[in-house]
């Protein structure tokens, strides 16, 4: 805990009074000069049910389960872990919250905890403790994890994406290095198209890859879905500028991106039909470990670049953000909290991140030094995904509206409509505004 406020102090003393039998939170912060500690004692005979998303890379699950086993042995808590396809976790968590029974701990996505904050355990002790111990949270992690100053979710990280590209194709198009600004990026894509090594970004209803790059595109131009008070402001000159840019960019794409779902760009890239796309580290990894010599030969030619930066000068990336939360209905709240904290500790987190080959970028600054990011220089750009990230539903408050607006693909559809020319940028922005207003109406 970074500091002790009055409330926490009361809690602590109450905990002390109640004794260790209730297993309360004991934390000491910087103020006392000692290293931050978190002392959570799981309830006797506690059993936990944990629900998490199904792994993207095998190493993730292997390492995760090994740490679960260590947790069980250390604390004598039996833990059952269920895996679900990643888009199914959100609805399940919501139902659990509503029904008041289900898994004790859920690793969900994005703003899941903000849709039923009153059903969740206060994880402030863990959030503050981890932040103090590991160099602080990246700002976006605090935005997702905290509500009204209280931690309701403990971020695990984000499945980050970069612009995966073929270095030789970029050079052949006359660029020494990957452009860092919007103008340069558009020029690169035009030159790539002329060389018949085009770019391609998903514009179908692709939950991950589609949302990720269109949010970047709109934000980079200064557009945003809502203002700080959740008023819909998507229909703005900045958005129109972004959509005009999208139209020019789309003209340089490989045909068929309107139909692309999440897996399409991976396939097209590995096959050599697309030379720039947005993706997680999985493409590189699949090439690196490929047994097909033709695919493997591509390994050295794959480059990763962070998303170009717009006029604001700040990165505007969106990645699949995942965090753990625990429910008040849990019979073993201390065990649940201890589990969440345990998995975030360096002894567990770093090996896990390594086993997942950097697929998940950390939310805590100290993990920047995890060797996984430097062992292969091609990993390095993924290190900064959470640092560079903005929350969806920016600049409004997270909650039901932000979740629903993204699930309905409003941003994706708007960019797709304008890019493909089926609507003018103005029409597309107006339609997005109307659709968003429905979700953001009070």
């Amino acid at each position: 805990m970074s500091y002790i406020d009055r409330r926490n102090f009361l809690k602590m003393t109450a905990g002390l009074a109640a004794g260790a039998a209730t297993g309360d939170v004991l934390a000491q912060g910087k103020k006392t000069g000692a290293a931050p500690t978190l002392n959570l004692i799981p309830e006797k005979g506690a059993k936990l049910r944990v629900l998490r998303w199904k792994r993207f890379v095998e190493g993730d699950e292997v390492a995760f389960m090994a740490h679960v086993k260590r947790f069980s042995e250390k604390f004598g808590v039996e833990v059952r872990v269920d895996n679900e396809g990643w888009p199914d976790v959100g609805p399940k968590a919501a139902v659990a919250a509503n029904v008041g029974s289900g898994p004790d701990v859920i690793y969900g996505w994005f703003d899941d905890p903000h849709q039923y904050p009153e059903k969740l355990l206060d994880l402030s002790a863990i959030g503050n403790y981890l932040g103090a111990k590991y160099g602080g949270w990246f700002p976006v992690a605090e935005t997702y994890g905290k509500r009204d100053g209280k931690w309701i979710g403990i971020p695990l990280g984000a499945a980050g994406a970069t612009f995966v590209h073929r270095i030789s194709h970029v050079q052949a198009a006359g660029f020494k290095e990957f452009p860092k600004d919007l103008k340069g990026f558009l020029e690169l894509c035009k030159a790539m198209k002329a060389k018949n090594t085009p770019a391609g970004f998903a514009l179908g209803n692709a939950v991950g890859d589609g949302n990720s790059w269109v949010h970047w595109l709109v934000w980079a131009h200064g557009g945003r879905m809502v203002d700080e008070k959740n008023n819909v402001v998507i229909n703005s000159p900045e958005t129109i500028k972004a959509l005009e840019y999208a139209k020019e960019l789309y003209a340089t794409f490989v045909p068929g991106t309107l139909s692309w779902l999440d897996p399409n760009n991976n396939k097209a890239f590995v096959d050599g039909q697309v030379s720039i796309t947005n993706n997680g580290i999985s493409v590189y990894y699949s090439v690196k470990t490929s047994t097909d010599p033709k695919v493997k030969a591509m390994q050295d030619d794959i480059g990763h670049a962070n998303y170009p930066i717009g006029p604001s000068g700040k990165p505007t990336e969106l990645h699949l953000f995942t965090q753990a939360f625990a429910f008040k209905y849990s019979k073993f709240p201390n065990a649940a909290k201890a589990f969440i904290a345990f998995m975030m500790e360096k002894e567990q987190y770093e090996p896990w991140q390594q086993a997942a080959i950097g697929y998940i970028t950390h939310p805590l600054k100290a993990y920047d030094s995890n060797p996984i990011w430097t062992v292969d220089p091609k990993h390095t750009p993924y290190r900064d995904c959470v640092r560079n990230m903005t929350q969806h539903g920016y600049a409004g408050k997270l909650g039901y509206s932000s979740a629903a607006a993204m699930a309905d693909f409003i941003m994706v559809n708007m960019v797709a409509e304008a890019a493909s020319g089926s609507k003018t940028p103005k029409e597309a922005a107006e339609r997005a505004e109307k659709r968003a207003q429905r979700y953001y109406k009070v």
Binding site: P87, G90, P91, A93, A94, V95, A97, N98, Q115, Y116, K119, L203, G204, N205, A206, V207, V254, P255, G256, T257, L258, S259, W260, L261, N264, K267, A268, D271, Q273, V274, Y400, A403, A404, A407, D408, F409, N413, A416, E417, S420, S422, R431, K434, R435, R438, Y439
Partner: protein
């Protein structure tokens, strides 16, 4: 004993035996349907019970361009796919009804598309329609007929037609096999009598086969229309409703809004909005195509 006599009563016994089935229907059919209908009139979100909002959801959906588009898509999808399924299915049934070599083998093969789980065959079609790896495009390019790959799922109208073709492929066997069963119930003596009267093959089909088959057609096509109208898996795998929502059916949009989007009430309202169309289809086949006097050579009053 009056109790034993009570249980000997046929009516009481009948009622008693029907109780489990009735309970099952109530719990697994009536209750979910009732709950779904109720939800459609509330603003329920996933994880939050809703308030009664009357027709709000329907009013909103009526004004929502995506929902209107999905209604159009659904009707278009159902009408085109059903017409083709009927024509192709009937044709196939007539062919299979003849003396063919390896008759039972051929009949079994015809059923294959229907047996394969939809999600699997949809994935096969996804590859067939892939913009980068389509085998159809590949063959046509190699043959020199076209020079760029066909954007099967990337152009709104092309995507609509592509999904419809996949649906037809899957639906034809069901129609064909059922109609085949119907064909085999037609007594050969009717055809003999027609032959004696000097009827041509066409006249035999028109005046004997078709009238005798109408009741089966009514049942098959009702089912076929219902399945097509409520199709979900195929679209979900192939396009998720894209490109530009041009293949979103009411069922897929209801799911998108209701579950990942969390707007349970709105999703339910979209789903209930399908019910009148389904009822109309059932009533049409019930009153329009059931056994009538004209099928026996008489005239309807």
């Amino acid at each position: 004993m009056s109790l034993s006599r009570f249980f000997d009563n046929r009516n009481v016994l009948g009622l008693l035996f029907m109780l489990p089935a009735g309970a099952l229907l109530l719990v697994f059919l009536t209750y979910p349907l009732g709950l779904g209908t109720w939800l459609g009139f509330t603003d329920a979100k996933i994880g939050r019970t809703g308030q009664w909002v009357g027709l709000d959801n329907f009013e909103y959906l009526f004004g929502d361009s995506v929902a209107r588009l999905s209604l159009f898509n659904t009707l278009f999808y159902t009408v085109v796919a059903s017409v083709f399924k009927f024509i192709l299915g009937l044709w196939l049934a007539l062919l299979l009804n003849r003396q063919l070599p390896f008759k039972s083998f051929v009949r079994a093969v015809v059923l294959l598309p229907f047996i394969v789980p939809t999600a699997l065959s949809a994935i096969a079609f996804w590859w067939i329609y892939d913009t980068q790896f389509s085998v159809v495009s590949w063959v046509l390019v190699k043959m020199g007929i076209i020079d760029t790959y066909i954007n099967f799922l990337g152009e709104p109208w092309l995507a609509r037609m592509s999904t419809i073709i996949a649906n037809i492929w899957r639906g034809v066997p069901f129609v064909a096999i059922t109609l085949l069963a119907g064909l085999q119930t037609i007594s050969p003596s009717l055809y003999e009598a027609a032959s004696l009267d000097g009827a041509s093959e066409w006249q035999k089909f028109w005046y004997v086969t078709l009238p005798m088959l109408t009741p089966i057609i009514a049942v098959v096509m009702t089912f076929s229309v219902l399945f097509t109208f409520t199709d979900f898996q195929l679209i979900y795998v192939l396009t998720r409703g894209g490109p530009l929502n041009s293949t979103h059916l009411m069922a897929t949009l209801a799911f998108q809004r209701g579950i990942p989007g969390g707007a349970l009430g709105e999703g339910a309202a979209l789903a209930i909005a399908m019910v009148p169309f389904l009822l109309a289809a059932i009533l049409f086949s019930y009153f329009g195509l059931q056994r009538r006097a004209w099928q026996q050579g008489g005239t309807d009053k």
